[in-house]
Subunit: 219 residues, 8 copies
């Protein structure tokens, strides 16, 4: 696995990540890491790799776009001096274009999205052991849905940006597409973005598999 | 128009209708009729037909299915002695099958849905000037979506039941389908059921047109 | 109609306009524009002119007088860079003289009212496509009521100021006077100022008619 | 004065009287009699007639009509075994006809109002030293206002009913009419019914004068 | 009477005066002057001298000592530009010496109390038409009680200070002493300082008599 | 000491005893016995006699008079099957006569007080190992104060009643009188009844001494 | 695995199981099953066995002992007609003996504990496909701790009772003992009973392994 | 005893000391000193040494470590100008190492702990009559528990630091160890740190004995 004993792993993102995390720093006692996929990640590390003492921090911010991510990066990420940074962003960049089509100030197009990613990557590389990106997704089975089409366009921007910097980039859309063979989207979440418990575990297990988690949870 | 001076018109239904109506009776001062489509209806009657003094009552119940409608009918509807009853039901009968697929107690199939409609119709006819049904809908543009397919099946059950009893039955799905040519569903509502303000006005104007409202709102 | 595709229309005023609008900016999701006449305006534009994507913003402030309007103008109005500004003000300038007759500090006479209007008009013109004024009103049928007499005096000041600058000025008093032929003032509102739902729709439809809204709401 | 040492005087009525009185019985410590005109009455008796130890009870109910008064009479009034009963009722009987003109269930016409008064008078006489009625009023200077006209009609019904039973009946409208020579109605109260502090003292002093209070408050 | 038409009369003091007054300025609508003796004063002026339009402001501060009075004077009193200032202070200077005898920081002896009075008097004179002092009191019938003895010592300091500057000084202790012939102290107030409603009216009528209020409240 | 290993000792009384005890039974975890003198008693037993495992229960009721004590006895006391009952009552019987002199219903004179004590004693004796009474008190140094005189009259009634039944009766007035040589009453409590922390410990130590507590708290 | 498609599996127990479950029935939307180990179980079934549609219900009750379990069984368990019942009970039977040693009413010894288990087993068998017991535990590494010794005694009673009826019985103590080689008990939980997130997953995975869950969570 | 008449004694520490103390300064009326062991100390001084008027202040801060103590010292301690300072610190320095083993930022080893103590001692000495240290403890009977071993290591650091400066240092662990012969730790506190009422009295009496309190509490 790519994480070593005592590593500090910081998760940054929007409300998919935040999930009522502690303030000002999302760590430690009393559900400090919130109750979304970061909780799943921390719990499974604690249970299966107790000897590694991985230090999980969730410093995400509800409602954040990639532009907010740039604005918050120094305080929420760099000041914590993490060993690894995990970044899931882009859902709000796309969503606002569809749920608030009359509010045209502050729309973030795919080029600006890519630029925002580059800014935080360049600020971070050289200061961490690794930086990991997670692609935005839409819990929708209809491939022709314009918001899903757009979300995949942004996911692709992230994937290519990651590639350019040699970063691990975790694709999530296909995980949900696969799961939607068994459930209607509304069973995971009414709004098709916030993943609920089952969706959080789907994100967590893809993340864990991607970083080399190789012990059985149930044996 | 089918309503006459001093008529008392009672709306029954689920959370699409309820919208924080007053308890125990949803009428009168301080937004007694809630803030959904019934508010739109009442306001437009007040503004355009002030001389009719139409008495609007909203006695819907959040979360109600057609089975709950049967159980609540005596207290929420008949005890109020309305002149007209308007009933929009069925959304939850369908939704629960998709968002809670593991909870199999209490699933209401299309036959039971039709039976529940018949029970309240027969209890009501003979005691009112008219009873009007409004069909359930799903704010989704993909006609292949299984929940939309199912919702249309229930809407058809309502339409045929209404026909059998000679009731006015108002179709809503096509109104939303038409509007979705201009907006993504998430612009009306994140959950594709609760209509928001714009969606409430879409329901209200279809209702008003169907009952013969024939004065201009803006002249 | 005077508004074009993508125009940003900002409403400024007092509690008649504010109506629990979102802070700091009254726009977007979750009833951002409040639940008064601005809601009616936004909803009817959304329903009848969906292809225009008009961007409605409500930045009014409860309790504001025309002097508060001057003080707030830079932050609440100009910083938003609107295409059009709509301004309904003056009710509190008059009301305080009648409900708080012993509090004599800060009374705003008709001359100062006119001066306050001129200040914000001159700050705005040249930066917007249009600025529209709406006259204060009093929901009172007795033409001899001294507060109604005074309110009409202020409305006249606004009308003449608008004329001088060539602005569209919307008169509201006669709309309410007409409606009071069918209802006692207390049916619209206990305090004869805050308009309630019916009164908000009365304001909205006069506004919409004045700006050239020419599609049927119910067809 | 008509009250004697240790007399228990119970006030019944609607929100004009209630004013956050204590529950279940409005008496005793911690503002038990509420903070409206009954507070004024109790305070002035305490200050000027301390040796009488008059026992003041406020058992009014917000929103009550004369019909509610009949329904509540046994529990709120008779069960307390008062020596004197003071009853101010009728405002809501009239107000609902004007602020809720479409809600036609439960309208109380002047005949029913008189009948409701007779019921409680006959239940009470013989069990008390005295029963005192206070007439409803409307804080409005325009004598042609239809709600004021109607309120005076009900006040007259009360006056004649009182006369028939030989009860003291206290007229309040002329007190407010006199005061409105100095203030606009909105200075006393925005809704023209609930009297505020100044209006409460106006009611109290008319009541006290009528029952023979004959000591100076300020000497 | 010493007050003239349109005079602005500001009350300063501690919790005996404050009584939930409005912030930042205790005036105007919605019980802005609090619900203690200032309310009594304002109400009786409104009722009996409506043509004077006396402007009452309550800017007292719960818990204030005479030292706090000095610290707050500029903001709470002078910035309001009153015509008359009324100041009731000293209760907390004495009380803390008896209820918190172990907390010896910040004890204000009689000399410092006199000095604090002089500071605010000199800051005020020349800027107002009049300044009126009201002496602290203790609602206790036992003349040997050490806290009553001490309170009278402070009251005397105020009386002599007022005399030196030629100010009207209103004595309150004897009013309460007189009333305690009819009631035990606990009937006015459990803590023997905060006066309750009856005690507030006792203070108000002494104040009103002292300033020349000469109309009957009940005639 | 009169208590033996595992004894269950139940305290009954008014707000002096209650002090936010747990409901429905004041025992066990999380400050179940409230935070007044019963807390002091329980804590000192726990600290100094840990081997006795004395089971302390506080089932007092805020505001209770001796008449309320009779009404609550079966549910609050007997149903708990205590080994010992401790009863401190009478303060409210006296206090209401002084703080609410106009409320004359329900006044409990000394004879009725004695009768109320006899009722609960006779219901209890034979079912417990012991019953202990604690006399009401008034934290007032002036022996001529009429409320103190009256309180001592009631205390005497309790003392004589206890004597008649051979019960231990604990006098508290002299404890407070002694303490008032060092502090003004307001240092213990603003209202002269509720004892505060210091007063609670004064009650507790007198109780403990009376029941034979004979180990040093601090050694 | 022992569960089949559409099976309804009901969990009963105390606060270890309850974890803010929905009322009256802990199932369905919005975290109906609470956020403890039942959430882990439901989530992992949803993720790994989506085609089975297992219906999970959590009807546990905070604070329950085995005696409460008997009292609640009919309403919380049998009325739901589950296919399988899972029961984790006994922690409070033991804990109260140690944290409330003076409260001796209601202590449940090991014999009564066994009897309580037998009562619910016999009520259940014949009505379900299977009943599964989970043994109480104490998160304490010191094997000589008297509360751990006692907890193991009760666990043994459960194990032998299960054996007698041929029920699956899941031992949990050794899971925690194993984990305590890596963490101090306070890292899992401050009180050594409520398991926190990591402890909940430890319980869940032991449960899932015991019932034949044989798919990888992370592959 | 080491304290003299009118001495001001300030307690500093973490949540063991804080216990809902008043802000900004923990003194005076309404339980200003919180409800933990400082309350016990203040109450027993008040009861047994009323003539000394000892001024107790509790300025502790929940969650504080010895490093927080250094940061807060100027504001919480020195600015109050106490005569004596009592400091109980170290529990959180140790606890966080055991309950949050993955959070490795900010761990305070024994050397840094000693250094933090030295900083505040040197800042304080010369400005006070005395400074008293109280050693951290762990309410655990197993001497081999690693958190207890570590806590004793820190207590030893404090003891040696105190010795070096000639300060009184109060050992608490043996008090709890002695008490655990009669109770399981969970009877004092579920988390083995926060002492509850009985534990607070245990701390208080050791403190009082150490400072020379030599009067009987119960005589």
């Amino acid at each position: 696995m790519i994480f070593e004993k005592y590593d500090k792993i910081l998760f940054m993102g929007d409300s998919i990540t935040d999930c009522e995390r502690a303030r000002p720093v999302g760590e430690g006692l009393w559900a400090g890491v919130g109750n979304g996929y970061v909780r799943c990640v921390e719990t499974l590390f604690n249970v299966c790799y107790p000897e590694l003492y991985l230090h999980i921090v969730n410093n995400a911010q509800n409602g954040a776009t990639s532009a907010d991510g740039v604005a918050l990066w120094e305080e929420n990420v760099m000041s914590q001096k993490p060993d690894h940074v995990v970044y899931l962003i882009g859902g709000n960049d796309v969503w606002r274009q569809f749920d608030s089509p009359t509010v045209r100030d502050g729309v973030i197009g795919p080029e600006e999205y890519g630029e925002n990613l580059r800014k935080v990557i360049e600020r971070t590389l050289g200061n961490v052991k690794s930086m990991i990106l997670m692609e935005p997704y839409f819990i929708e089975s209809n491939d022709d849905d314009p918001m899903k089409v757009k979300m995949k366009e942004y996911a692709l921007v992230m994937r290519e940006t990651a590639k350019k910097y040699g970063l691990l980039c975790i694709e999530l859309q296909s995980e949900f597409d696969e799961y939607l063979k068994y459930r209607h989207p509304t069973a995971l979440t009414w709004d098709r973005i916030h993943p609920g418990w089952t969706g959080s575990m789907i994100i967590a297990r893809k993340f864990l598999k991607s970083v080399g988690f190789d012990r059985p949870v149930i044996e």
